[in-house]
Symmetry: C2
Subunit: 304 residues, 2 copies
């Protein structure tokens, strides 16, 4: 069974940055992930990673090549189990069993679901969690984006250039997205903002044909049917913390892994970075910084 | 007197990243700095800013242009005074007087001095604090680098390609620099490492001609004279915290500004990021992340 100094779980901005730093520290480093780039791949255009302008996927490929060039190994497997043994963490993947002296968890988030009727039934048939991936299927059609944060606003802007009409549907009064997106949204005449609106049901036969919403908010129900072909759900993510359960790492009530300033979890030798921990700002540069810090902490841990 | 939402003091990685984020949040943003790039400019080659490979100066120009493109204003002045007034901070520079509702301090560090005889006298005449800037003056000469951290190791490697002989002089047993640098140093046959060695005096007539050192360490003094033409002092930096004194911001015993996780200082409306605060890892990506977070905190502060 091959042994490593550091096993990094996940290959988004945090995991790849941790890999660059860990390999540069001279540590035997393996990154275990089914994909390269994580949710940053879904960013059509990144304008706020300092020093870079381009697609999320292209940026993630740069991170990846940099990590590979300094000697990080990549294993394209799913994780099955992880156990603390004497002297190492035993990791079982779909294809291998390895041993690592330390672990950096950078598994990010999985998309949060609305949990309304029709959501599962029409997945891939009009329901999508990724405007960048699926937007082009909705040329000249009518779509709705559900959500009020940056990812919803970015999705709306992207779709407004493809679809005929785009609804932005959210529960609250104020959009939580950045001013720069709000200003751009105002300039488009095919975006319709529906405040205080709660999605109730996604309807259709073989594919989505309508969205039932409550336009009166919680206090004054007023149902309305919107005719459309696509529903994009952009209501954020839930931290992927199954691993935390396997290792009995402390998590908070929202499911985020609890770390200190040095990215140490409650288990000695296990660190975490990126969207799997709670941060004031969910941005590529923040995740990359946390990944670098986690690698430094793993390095310090291994010197002892 | 012109009024801003955010005044950013300093234009290194933290200040520029804060400017990108602050301007993108739609805040009236001014960056006050004599230079663009700060100490990151001195990095000959940056290999560990994820997604980038190239010189520090080039990376900082990318940060700068990105900040300018999103609307941050730049003021190329020195700071003279800063005072908290009703409703705003009044900032006096060499050329202007402005008012800002919030402040982000990103002034970084100034080089730490050895405080030995000859250090001031021979500054620019063989004594340097920047191998990237002054290395080329020492072609085929003998030089020493004093220090044991990453900046010292990087300086030694850079100089080994220019000078004939390079001494790496440090007080301790173990170098604190990254494995990748230590391995490269081992491969060079014109680098001589002097452990447990304390520099005592820099000597010469019109320019540096020798360095007096104690090779025995503290317990067993053993003086030795090294004939050389250049002495590069790379022993880290001291946080620039004069501003903190003007605003009565809490600093720690080493002079670093004290902030919480959201980059808030002890004074309401004043935030700090980068080398002026204490971090586990002093890296461009960490400073950039802190700058982004400080901008978000300033934005949240201004919404109230």
């Amino acid at each position: 069974m091959k042994s490593y100094d550091v096993a990094i779980l996940g290959a988004g901005p945090a995991g790849l940055s941790a890999a660059i730093y860990s390999a540069r520290y001279g540590l035997d480093t393996i990154v275990i992930s089914r994909d390269i780039g994580g949710s940053a791949n879904l960013a059509h255009q990144i304008e706020n990673y300092p020093g870079y302008l381009g697609s999320g996927m292209e940026l993630m490929q740069k991170f990846f090549k940099q990590a590979e060039n300094v000697g990080a190994e990549f294993l394209n497997d799913d994780l099955i189990n992880i156990k603390k043994k004497a002297g190492c963490f035993e990791i079982v993947t779909t294809g291998r069993k390895i041993c690592s002296k330390s672990i950096i968890i950078a598994l990010g988030t999985q998309r949060r679901k609305l949990n309304i009727s029709g959501e599962d039934k029409f997945l891939g048939k009009g329901v999508s969690y990724c405007a960048t991936c699926d937007g082009n299927f909705f040329k000249n059609k009518t779509v709705a984006v559900i959500g009020g944060g940056n990812s919803a606003c970015k999705a709306v802007l992207l779709l407004s250039g493809i679809a005929k009409q785009v609804y932005l549907i959210h529960r609250g009064e104020i959009e939580k997205c950045e001013m720069v997106y709000r200003n751009k949204i105002k300039e488009k005449n095919n975006i319709h903002i529906l405040n205080n609106t709660i999605p109730l049901e996604i309807g259709g036969k073989n594919s989505v044909s309508e969205l039932l919403v409550d336009r009166g908010g919680k206090n004054l129900p007023k149902e309305e049917r919107i005719k459309l072909e696509g529903v994009f759900i952009e209501i954020g993510g839930l931290p992927v913390s199954d691993i935390a359960k396997m290792l009995k790492i402390k998590i908070d009530k929202e499911g985020y892994l609890v770390v200190n300033n040095e990215m140490k979890t409650s288990i000695n030798g296990v660190f975490a970075a990126g969207d799997v921990i709670k941060s004031k700002l969910k941005q590529v540069v923040v995740a990359a910084s946390q990944g670098a810090t986690a690698a430094k902490s793993a390095y310090d841990y291994l010197q002892k």
